[in-house]
């Protein structure tokens, strides 16, 4: 009995050790977003609350906390209040299988990659239920756009991940990182370059971010599926969206950029010289680069039109991945190249 409690205690300790940094990261990602885009547009961004505006995310959270949660009259109350939980639940649960450094993983399961795919595909329920329960035209339109888009890009993403599996030969995420052991030209981004690009583009589209943000389309349908949400109910959706963005960044680093390995791992002089840097620092640097790209895209690209988004997903990304999977099969079977 005592042992059971001890294991449970340690599991919960690990869960919090992942979640507290995650929520801090989300908070400062929103801050970073406004600062970075501000500078790209030659403004300052938030700089009043705390030193250089560093307390801004907490001020925002507190503001939302003390706002009223309004429930529209004709909404389905139960489902309306359930939708935020359906959105954040999977977004949090995916982090169970992410390896942050050698051996730093909460649940080291064999089917890790499949689990990630399962949890990301659950995220669409939050969107659908929110849009339907709100009983508002704008919310419903946002739901339709968002769910059809998310669902289309999930296929391209799934195909891209199949390529990673073929190269690594395991679904265990730590195993995938270990299969890339070595300097940066050993990582999967090079042999799987087309899949890497497809993964990244569909990752941006999966999270409904610019330039694929027609689901939100503030100039067309106000805010999309969560127009009717206010206060903490909105905050939960917001949190889920940003947690998913960070997740896409971290997975990109784990799958294609060698996870926790330093870029010169195993190189004669530079390798040992960088050995003192803990693995998680490399992972965070790589993920941080992708996070910056998210903001960069938002400040740079104009929004795609809906039919263009669907065409890109079905007629460009999926054929590219299928062709590259065939090439990859031949390469692996013939044992060509230094990677396989």
């Amino acid at each position: 009995m005592f042992e059971t409690f001890e294991t449970l205690f340690w599991i919960f300790a690990k869960i919090w050790a992942v979640l507290i940094p995650l929520f801090l990261a989300v908070a400062y990602f929103t801050y970073m977003e406004r600062r970075v885009i501000g500078h790209m547009q030659d403004r300052r961004g938030p700089n009043r609350v705390g030193y250089k505006g560093l307390l801004q995310p907490f001020a925002d959270a507190l503001k939302l906390l003390f706002k009223e949660i309004s429930v529209p009259t004709h909404a389905n109350r139960v489902l309306f209040l359930l939708a935020p939980a359906l959105s954040i639940g999977p977004a949090v649960a995916v982090w169970a299988v992410i390896p942050f450094a050698d051996g730093w993983v909460v649940a080291d399961i064999n089917a890790g990659l499949l689990y990630i795919l399962a949890m990301t595909s659950l995220g669409v329920y939050g969107i659908i239920v929110a849009g339907w329960a709100s009983n508002s035209k704008y919310a419903l339109l946002g739901t339709l756009r968002a769910s059809a888009q998310v669902v289309s890009y999930e296929i391209a993403m799934g195909f891209a991940l199949v390529g990673v599996l073929m190269a690594a030969g395991t679904m265990n995420l730590s195993g995938i990182v270990e299969a890339q052991a070595g300097p940066f030209w050993n990582w999967f981004w090079l042999p799987l370059l087309p899949l890497f690009l497809v993964y990244w583009v569909s990752g941006v589209a999966e999270t409904n971010r610019a330039p694929f943000d027609v689901a939100e389309g503030e100039s067309e349908i106000v805010a999309g599926f969560h127009v009717e949400y206010s206060g903490m109910a909105f905050a939960v959706f917001f949190l889920a969206e940003y947690a998913n963005m960070i997740l896409i960044c971290v997975i990109a680093a784990v799958m294609f950029l060698g996870g926790w390995y330093s870029p010169f791992h195993g190189v004669p002089v530079l390798g040992p010289a960088l050995d003192w840097v803990p693995g998680i620092v490399w992972l965070l640097l790589k993920a941080g680069f992708f996070a910056f790209c998210y903001l960069w895209f938002r400040a740079t690209f104009p929004r795609y039109r809906y039919d263009q988004i669907m065409r890109l997903g079905w007629k460009v990304l999926i054929p590219v991945t299928v062709v590259w999977l065939v090439v990859l099969t031949v390469l692996i079977y013939a044992g060509v190249g230094p990677w396989f």
Partner: protein
């Protein structure tokens, strides 16, 4: 194996808690001043509808159906990719036939214009 899944289960529970607790906190700490105008669904300039659910373009159903089919294909590809080295040429050709059949379907929908949006 099961001991690896216990943290997963707990993680999912914690995730759901994160959806419930902030809402409760919001209801406790936030004001409650309902009003007819405030509670009405967002609308642009005219009175809101009683029920705004509507029938929509059948194209969205088609996307959902095609999604199921390709999702299944991915589910079949996953274990195949893992055992690629063990099943030899026969296994590879078996998957080649499988994917080939689905590609025929994919080309069909492309030619039929099921992927066009306007």
């Amino acid at each position: 194996m099961l001991e690896n899944y216990l943290p997963v289960l707990l993680f999912i529970l914690v995730g759901l808690v994160f959806g419930v607790v902030p809402l409760l906190a919001g209801f406790v700490l936030g004001p409650r001043r309902p009003g007819a105008e405030k509670q009405s669904p967002y609308e642009c300039g005219f009175e809101a509808f009683e029920d705004s659910r509507m029938k929509f373009d059948v194209r969205y159903y088609l996307v959902a159906i095609l999604f199921i089919i390709f999702d299944l294909e991915i589910a079949f590809l996953f274990p195949w990719a893992v055992v690629l080295d063990d099943i030899g040429l026969f296994g590879i050709l078996a998957m080649g036939l499988f994917v080939g059949l689905l590609l025929v379907g994919f080309l069909y929908e492309w030619k039929k214009g099921a992927l066009e949006w306007e």
